[in-house]
Each structure stands twice: as C-alpha cells, then as structure tokens.
C-alpha cells in the first residue's frame, strides 16, 4: 500500500499534467453544464452588459425551433384586405383554426375532428394544456394520437401548435373542496387566461374562422365547419347536449349539457345591477335565479337544424367565430366584464364591438359522459 502511495505521489511529481489535466477537464465540464453559454459581447454602449446568460442554472429550452423557413431577407407581406370570410367558406378556401383548451384527452374528441369533412389542409389546430399532472397526462396522449395519425399518413392539417400554460390552473382535488360558486369565478378566470393565450399566439394573418371546440366534445356532425360557417355570423354557437342511458326506460337518450348559451333577462340585469363591481352572474345556481332563456331548452327534435336565435352569452363548447371579431379585440375577460366572465364575457365584448351573437338551438353536438 505504502509502495503504491509512494508511486502515486512520485507519478504526480514526475508528470504534474496527469493531475492538472483531469482537474481542468472537470472545470471544463462544470462550465459546459452550469455556466454561461458562450460569451459573445457587443461593446456598443457600456451602460448594459451584453454577455449572454443561460436562464436559471439548469434549465434548457426544449421547445420547437424558433424562426425557421424564413422567406428572403426575412420579410413577408400579407394583404389582410383580401382575407375572405363568407358563407361559402370551403369553396373560397378559407382557413379555419380549431382551438381547444385541454385538461383531459378524450380519444373520441380526436377521432371526431379527424373525421371532419372540411379540407384538412385548410385547418390548423391549437391546444393549450394546464401546467400540472392532468396536463402531462393529456399531453402524452395527444402526442401519441398525433404520432399515430402521422404514421398512418392521416395527419393532413396545415399546422398544429401545442402550448403549455404559464398561468395558473386549479388542481382537480381542490376544486371539490371549495364552495362551487366561489370556485367557478376563479376557475373561469384562469380558463379565460388560457383561452386568450391560445388564441392570440395562434391566430394567423391567413385565418378566416376560429372554431372553439372543447376537448370533451366527442361527437359532432362531420360537416360541422361547413354547417356553422354557412350561417355567416360573427359568432355562432352549437347546442351542447349529452348522451346517457335513461334509467327508467333503459333506452339511450339525450339531455342538455351546456347552460352558458343564453338570452339576457330583466331578472338577470336586475341581479347584475345589485352586484359589486368584482362580482359575477353565473348560470345554474339556485341562489342566483336569472330566469334567462337558455338555448339548451330551445331544442326541438323536429325543428329545422338551421334555426337561429340571438344570444347574449355563449359557452365555449362549440362556437364558430369570425377571426375578425377576435382581431378587433374581442377576448375572454379574466375579470368581471359587465359582471360576466370568460366565454360569456366574450359574447358581451363582441357585442360592445358591434357584432351580433347567435345560437343554433337545433344543431346538436355532444359532450363526453363518463
């Protein structure tokens, strides 16, 4: 042992490089992983340092590559005067952006949009997922579905953008603990932020229509896009129902699901007038009887599917919006706007901007049922 130790020291004494080399390798490794990535500095103005720093100690951005396939000189030119938004959307090759906030992936949702008959190369998709475990799970499923479709040569969309939310979400456990009405305001405020983040980062200069389609809408007519755009309205909402098995008759049946499509009522306005600035009116709570006519209740199985009705509030389940409405600034308020929030606040803002809001009571789409 002593011999070896002596050898060791002698060795180092003879060749000091053998010690310095590994130490310097270590230092190099340290700098490579932990310290600044390169240090190109520009000397213009000494007021600020232009040395590049990596964000945080360990973080590495694994997002998609920014700025690729840029045109010559990086300059592109779009004439928005030529953008068309018409009843004849498919024939005029109008582009549609389908936007979906997604906290849960339902395979039926994906199968349903894959079956839409609108030309897929005119469709772009946008998803935003919450920053939590639910989001992780949903994202993995979505990734798999996209890759499977690609492998089967069934992925024809113009573009798909997937975003991870930077704003808060509620944990599903917490949701049950709190009083529903309080939670509703907070939850919908967060949903509004998520919807806006999704909308404004994906709307393109070529987008004519935006279809808001929730991740739990599992069944729609295959001509959904053509059907909704054919009405040529600034904002138009389908009626969201749900399939279930009737316990008494043991027969498959349907029931109304989304109660956020409504017409304002005297009572609703009276309640709103009595509220403090930061309070909201929400549908479906006994303590707040608005007596608003709800589109969900106007469904007539024998009626014309193209029957329109004017609305004052919309839910986000399946709503077609002319992209111009959003470009003019109609967004989802994350705060009480005329005592309304999120999708209902959006309808109000669209109206403030001079647009009309419609619903199709006899045109059904179906919500997931677990």
């Amino acid at each position: 042992m002593v011999y070896i130790k002596n050898q060791y020291i002698r060795y180092i004494r003879k060749k000091p490089l053998s010690l310095i080399a590994p130490i310097s390798v270590l230092l190099l490794v340290y700098f490579y992983f932990f310290a600044a990535h390169g240090s190109s500095s520009s000397s213009s103005g000494n007021k600020y340092s232009y040395k590049k720093k990596s964000r945080g100690l360990f973080a590495k951005n694994r997002d998609s590559v920014i700025l690729k396939n840029l045109p010559k000189n990086h300059i592109s030119h779009y004439d928005l005067n030529k953008l068309s938004t018409s009843a004849d959307s498919l024939a005029k090759k109008e582009e549609v952006l389908i936007l979906t906030p997604m906290s849960r992936f339902t395979p039926q949702y994906w199968d349903n949009i894959q079956k839409l008959t609108y030309e897929h190369s005119l469709i772009s998709l946008g998803f935003i997922l919450p920053r939590n475990k639910d989001g992780d799970v949903a994202l993995k499923h979505l990734e798999e579905a996209i890759k499977d479709a690609k492998a089967a040569n069934q992925l024809k969309y113009k573009k798909i953008t997937i975003l991870r939310q930077d704003t808060n979400s509620l944990n599903s456990q917490l949701e049950k603990d709190r009083h529903a009405l309080n939670v509703q305001k907070e939850r919908r405020s967060m949903m509004a932020l998520a919807r806006n983040s999704l909308l404004f980062t994906t709307i393109a200069p070529t987008t004519s229509w935006i279809l808001w389609l929730d991740a739990d809408i599992v069944e729609t007519p295959a001509g959904l896009i053509q059907d909704l755009t054919s009405h040529n309205k600034p904002v138009i909402s389908a009626n969201v129902y749900q399939r279930y098995e009737d316990e008494s008759t043991q027969q498959p049946s349907i029931r109304p699901y989304d109660f956020n499509n409504w017409v304002e009522s005297e009572e609703g306005l009276k309640i709103a007038a009595g509220l403090a600035d930061d309070e909201i009116v929400v549908e479906g709570y006994a303590e707040m009887a608005t007596y608003r006519p709800l589109m969900a209740h106007f469904y007539d199985a024998k009626g014309d599917v193209h029957t329109e009705m004017q609305l004052d509030g919309v839910g986000g389940g399946a709503v077609m919006v002319k992209a111009d409405v959003h470009r003019d600034g109609a967004m989802f308020p994350s705060f009480p706007f005329y005592h309304l929030i999120e999708t209902e606040g959006f309808a109000k803002m669209a109206k403030r901007l001079g647009y009309e809001v419609f619903g199709l009571p006899n045109y059904l789409v179906y919500h997931f049922n677990e």
Binding site: S18, G45, S49, K60, H77, L80, I162, N196, A204, R327
Partner: protein, 459 residues
C-alpha cells in the same frame, strides 16, 4: 481496462521466470497504467454524475412533460413559461415583437429607420411588424425600400429577425393633418379606429415565443438607441417614457406632448360617472376637465431618469410590455372601456387584469414638431410676411433705380446731340423709289371663284 490489462500481464509473469527485472518494471508500469485509468474512470464517473444530477434537478425545477415532435415539422410545441420576459432580456435571448402602425408615414420613414439601425438591443432578437393602412402616399414602397436596405446590410448584426408587413384599410374618415386628428369631436371615432388598427397588428403578429412587445410611432424624432434596454430593465408589465416635443423658437422651444399618460383622479372618476356608456374621455381638451396628474407635466429636466410613477392611462408613442400582457388578453379597446378607448383604455384594462402600469417622468423621448392649424396660420402669415417684405425690397430697388433714371439731368447732352438728330430727319435728298403694283391682285381674283374672301370691312 486496468483490470483486464493486469490480468493479461500476470500470466506472462508467472510463465516467464527468466525475466525478473523486467517483471518488476512491468508491475510498476501496470500500477502506473492502473492509476492513469483510475483517474480517467473518476473523470468519467464525475461527468456521468453531473449529467445525472443535472437531469434530476431540471426535472425537479420544471416538472412538466415535454413532447418531442422534431420529426413532424407541422407540429410545434412551446412552453409559454419560457417566454415570460425578464429585466435583462437581451442577455437571455428574449425576443421582442416591435409593432409599428403606419398611415401616410412615408416622410417619417428615413428618420425612423435611422433610429432602427442604431438600436443596441441585439437586432436578431427583434421581430418587426408593420401595419400599413389607408395611405395616399407611398408608405409601402418606402417601407419596403428601407427594409430591404437594412436586411442586406453587409454587417449581419444590423439585420433583424422576422419581419411581417400587413396591409389593412379601415376607411378612415378623418384626415391625417394635425388639426384634423386633434380636434375634440374627432377624438372618439378616431381613437376607436386607431384601436382596431393596433389590435389587427398585434393579434396577427404575436407568436408564442415572444417575451416582450414594443410599440412605436413612426413620428418620433429623438430617442436613445438603448430605449428597449432602458425600459426593459425596470422589469414592469407595461412601461412608457415621457414624450415631449421640440418647438420653434417663436413658440418657446419645447413642450410636453403626450397627455395620454396619466394617473386616475377623483375628478376623472366622477366625470366618467356622468358620461354615457359609449362616451370616450380624451385628455388635454377643455371639454373634459379631469384634474388628473399627467406624466408629461411632472418632468424635471435634471430629475433621475430611473424614477417610476404609477399610471392608469397611457399614450401609444412608445410602449414596452411583457408579451404575456397581450397574450392573456389585454388589448386596445375599440369600444368605450371605463369611458376610454385605445391606448388609454389599454392602460386601464391592463391594470384591471392585475398588471403593473408605469411611466418614467424624467426619461424623455421627443416627438417631431407638427404645427397645429393655428401654428400653420401663424407660420403662413410669417412666411407671407417674409415674401411680402422681400418683394417690397425688390420693388423698392427697381423703383429707386427708375426714380434716379427719371430724374437724370440730360439737358447738356441733349443740347450737344440735338443737331445730329434733327439732321437725320431731313428727307429731301433721299432717293425716290418707284414700285409697279399692277397685276398683284390677279391671283386673288382667280381664287375667289372657289374660295370666298375673308369678310373684311375696315370701318
């Protein structure tokens, strides 16, 4: 490696008994090799450990799952948390979306691009977005000319990131002259229209990977090249500088310009309550007295440029925001929002959404001087006065000359030259010339058959 080596060596040693000395050397060298490889092992182990710890820690600090779509080019993934924007964005490769609305702005563009070239924020991190509306001059042509020039600059660090030019006409009814734009009645509709224009610009231009958004009017004359860093290092959600303008000497050489940056006051709030839903308060007009503290008036030329002031309404000449402000839905209301529209309402809306809105009273940029119609009248008068005076001077010069000429004493000259003039007028001995005019009209008579003579009566 060291183990396998010694294993190879040892059977050799036992077989070859005649080479003891060599054997000893071999042992030493084997120890040496073993040591060398041990060190190598150590280094490799440390590298692996470091990589492992790094993976663990990064997994801990950002617990979210990241998909991998590198094989499908039509699919993009972005974690918006990576684009929240920091105080020293230029050191973290944070991209800035630089928005410029343009209308009949061709004359301002050379000055504007002069500023652009000098920006110290790394140009490759700046994405430019222009909206050209209802222009009667060649704003588009000028814009493209300047962009091409800067994007082909031999110094590649002068070139910008992505550039998008959008065209959209809103059919503006109000003229773009100073007093057309600044009359009281024009303000509501004009501000709402301008709000639409601004919204059309940012909504189509902003991408998931933008961390900051900067708004700049084309008609800014003087601005520090470090403007982006100067505003960004305050790390606020929405921040504006003070905006003044230089004036001609006869108007007293400078003046606060942008009155849209203000703090809300009780006066403002009670005025708002008296107005109807669609009314639109605009600052700086006697019709609306709000007694609000204005950023512009709080300037001290010797004050600390770092000083911050909370604002409620802001002007649009130069706004820096975190991109998340727009991303999450703040915009320029094109309707009356809390009795305001456009940039002032943007300030109010951002506040309502919980963002910080800050102004810098002692940090100033300078808007160009554009004369108002009163100024124009005065300037017209000054100009015509100048012309009149010049004309007068010219006339006086001629007049003086004529006057002198007219009163020149020519008596003596006349007396000496008189006889010569009079002599030349005596025609008595001039030669007599005879002309024969007969037959001159014959030709005319012949023609008169087919052509009528001009009706000519001397009386």
């Amino acid at each position: 490696m060291s183990f396998s080596m010694s294993q190879i060596l040892s059977p050799y040693d036992y077989k070859d008994h005649g080479k003891e000395s060599l054997n000893k050397k071999a042992i030493i060298s084997s120890v040496k090799t073993a040591l060398k490889s041990k060190i190598l092992y150590g280094v490799v182990a440390i590298i692996v450990l470091v990589a492992f710890v790094k993976a663990q820690i990064s997994a801990f600090s950002s617990p979210v799952y990241t998909p991998n779509f590198s094989k499908i080019p039509t699919v993009q993934y972005f974690d918006l948390d990576h684009y929240d924007g920091s105080a020293n964005g230029w050191q973290h490769e944070e991209r800035v979306l630089f928005c410029v609305p343009l209308r009949d702005a061709a004359p301002h563009l050379p000055m504007f691009f002069g500023h652009m070239k000098n920006l110290t924020y790394p140009h490759n991190l700046i994405d430019l977005a222009f909206l050209v509306s209802d222009s009667s001059d060649d704003t588009m042509g000028e814009l493209q000319k300047h962009l091409k020039e800067v994007q082909t600059d031999p110094d590649t660090s002068k070139r910008f990131g992505e550039i998008e030019i959008f065209e959209k006409d809103f059919g503006q009814v109000i003229g773009q002259g100073f007093s057309d734009r600044h009359g009281f009645a024009a303000q509501g509709p004009r501000r709402k229209l301008m709000a639409r224009a601004r919204n059309w610009l940012w909504t189509v231009a902003i991408k998931p990977y933008h961390s900051h958004v900067y708004w700049r009017d084309a008609d800014v004359e003087t601005v520090p090249p470090t403007i982006l860093e100067d505003l960004m290092h305050h790390d606020k959600d929405v921040i504006v500088p003070n905006v003044w303008r230089p004036l001609p000497d006869w108007l007293g050489n400078q003046q606060p310009y942008d009155l849209n940056s203000w703090q809300e006051s009780d006066g403002g709030l009670s005025l708002a309550e008296t107005l109807d839903e669609d009314a639109c308060i605009v600052e700086g007009y006697v019709e609306y007295q709000t007694w609000r503290p204005h950023l512009a008036y709080l300037r001290d030329p010797y004050g600390d440029p770092e000083v911050e002031m909370e604002l409620d309404g802001i002007g649009g000449v130069s706004i820096l925001t975190k991109a998340k402000v727009f991303r999450t839905g703040a915009h320029f209301p094109a309707f009356s929002f809390e009795k305001h529209a456009e940039t002032e309402a943007f300030g109010k809306l951002s506040k309502r959404m919980g963002y910080s809105v800050i102004g810098l009273p002692h940090y100033v940029i300078w808007h160009i001087y554009e004369p108002s119609s009163d100024d124009l009248k005065h300037m017209e008068w000054m100009a015509s006065e100048e012309i009149r005076q010049k004309e007068e001077a010219k006339i006086k010069k001629v007049y003086d000359k004529v006057w002198n000429k007219a009163f020149e004493d020519v008596q003596d000259v006349w007396r000496s030259e008189k006889n010569m003039f009079l002599k030349n007028t005596d025609m008595s001995n001039v030669r007599r010339i005879q002309v024969d005019w007969s037959g001159v009209d014959d030709n005319l008579d012949k023609q008169s058959n087919d052509k009528k003579l001009a009706d000519f009566s001397p009386e």
